[in-house]
Assembly symmetry: C2
Homo-oligomer: 343 residues x 2
DNA sequence: TTGAAAGCGCTAACAC
DNA sequence: GTGTTAGCGCTTTCAA
């Protein structure tokens, strides 16, 4: 097994030329069934896998998708999101014989070096498509670079704010259920996002003339423990929120415990909704509703879009950024219910 | 910018042959300083980056490190760990001009298809080194394959159990501090690991003839909320643990709150230690001690070992698995203290 | 110290 | 439908 099976070996085994083998593995229609069958068998028995390097050098498709992410990822949830995208993206790409590569890039938005570095990476890898992960998707020089090179690019749908504000959506839903006193617990995480969601929550309340409970936690993102202290303080008085929104799943879980220790039943006395999804939210009692931004799924979708773009348009046109639907999904679970008649 | 800058362009600009350029970028000693200088300047001004594909095809180093992970990663902490490794590994590799690629592989340990698939990936990528992420590192057929191909491989040090049992280490430390009644809260996560740690905890207690509080949570991994209920039940009676170990960081944080709501001071009345590190553990009050397995750092170390192996040994010998030190680090923080004299 | 030649595995473009 | 030819960008081996 010196250097691996090559197309030549397959060609010999199937008694055809290299080109025919090439046609088969590239799904060219102009191959006779018999030849195709023999080639496929040879491929299977020999365990042949085309060399990525040779393939991309020959001028064909490299079979590589590139995802660039900001270098200095510091948030705590970030690694998790990244991991989720890696998992989902790899699965999606692998299913179509593609490979997915993650590369860090300087986070500084306007950094001119970033574009240069991306150019280098592109030259080295010849990716068939590039996914710009936030906040890189907002860097015009990167987009321009990709466009000028004719490389399809994609971004996570809805990263541009407007399209999905979880805080607002959650608040609206609770208001719809008759709640008027709604607490909001921001948890550690991306502060900018937190602020946006909090603003959305305020907006929803203002529109419907609902009074938010004053003690929601805002600017300073409290740790889990501090947040729980606040929640307890919030829930002890007779006049208390009938619903609480938490940014993080673990906070919601802990709030459930606090409520229980205070003899408050969920959802009878208190509705609970988390702005992040987590398997534990399903298994607790009662299961907690969540507003979920399926980042991993969206990412996988972006990969698929890119792979499809290559097949159809080829060099005709650079794939536009078709925004996917489903950017934010409300997962209803027993932890939310209509507000009690009176407080 | 049709297809990118090639070595030819650089050679022309520096007025030398391609070989000379090649020598420069490969740090060959046999290049005259003047030529070297001109080449380097040309590279800089042209923004030349060697094509990975051409390079690996020419028979040289591909500049690619491959990390394979089990396909069906289901644990909730897993994505986070994976993301952390991606972050740390990319940084380490990027610093030396390497690229890091993550590929999923069937999880089933003995799956014969896994080896075949890995062989294919190797053929396609020609990686210079492969990192087998647990539990893939225990698959002999994969190791064998890599060895037979002469590809350096690495695994995360200490994944083989023995070297680091966080449960045991934490228990020992607490016993050392005089604690005898120690609770253990297993949290959702890798059940196997959980079981090992729990066993280690039991072992430590048994050795020192300490009595674990019976109500620790074992086999069934409770959700956060359930765990808190249990902790509360544990802490209410007069006879209660003087220390609690939690597998997850968020559980520790929440336990801190529970203790507080029960008027128990940490660490005066209760010592607390988490078996996972998290930024929040530092910011809470008091900061909570943690036993941390720096997976990301270990992974980056593995990458570095692989890159070094290529430079020195080349094809002489496949790099052995030098276990790193520092596989488990105890981060002392104010949440642990000597046990109170009497209970 | 440098250059010329050959070839890595594959795919486009062109023949047949 | 199929085989032939000519590279892709680089590195190795050999000559100078």
């Amino acid at each position: 097994m010196g250097r691996g099976i090559t197309i030549e070996d397959v060609a010999r085994a199937a008694d055809v030329s290299r080109q025919t083998v090439s046609r088969v593995i590239n799904h060219s229609p102009r191959v006779s069934p018999s030849a195709k069958a023999r080639v496929e068998e040879a491929i299977a028995t020999l365990g042949y896998v085309p060399s990525l390097a040779a393939r991309s050098m020959g001028g064909g498709r490299s079979g590589v998708l590139l995802a660039v992410f900001p270098e200095s990822q510091t948030g705590s949830g970030t690694a998790q999101e990244l991991g989720g995208m890696l998992l989902a993206g790899s699965a999606a790409c692998g299913a179509q014989g593609y490979r997915l590569l993650f590369e860090p890039l300087c986070a500084a938005a306007g950094d001119p070096g970033a574009a240069a570095k991306l150019a280098g990476t592109i030259g080295a890898l010849q990716p068939e498509g590039v996914i710009l992960l936030p906040p890189l998707d907002r860097a015009p020089e990167l987009r321009k670079l990709l466009d000028s090179r004719g490389i399809p690019r994609a971004t996570l749908p809805g990263s541009e704010a407007a399209s999905g504000n979880a805080g607002e959506a959650a608040a609206r839903r609770l208001i719809e259920l008759g709640h008027r006193q709604i607490g909001y617990i921001s948890g550690p995480g991306d502060p900018q996002r937190s602020e946006r969601w909090l603003a959305g929550y305020r907006r929803a309340l203002a529109e419907r003339d609902s009074r938010a409970h004053r003690h929601f936690v805002a600017e300073d993102q409290p740790g889990l423990c501090t947040a729980l202290d606040l929640v307890r303080a919030l829930l002890v008085p007779t006049i208390r929120p009938t619903a609480i929104i938490t940014e993080r799943a673990d906070t919601a879980l802990a709030v459930l415990h606090v409520a229980r220790s205070l003899k408050l039943a969920v959802p009878r006395d208190l509705s609970l909704i988390a702005l992040a999804e987590d398997p534990e939210l399903v298994t607790c009692d009662p299961p907690i509703a969540a507003l979920h931004r399926p980042v991993a799924a969206l990412f996988a979708g972006a990969c698929e879009r890119l792979m499809a773009a290559r097949k159809t348009a080829d060099d005709t046109a650079v794939s536009a950024e078709l925004p996917l639907e489903l950017t934010l999904e409300l997962i209803e679970r027993p932890s939310i219910a209509r507000a009690p008649r009176a407080i």
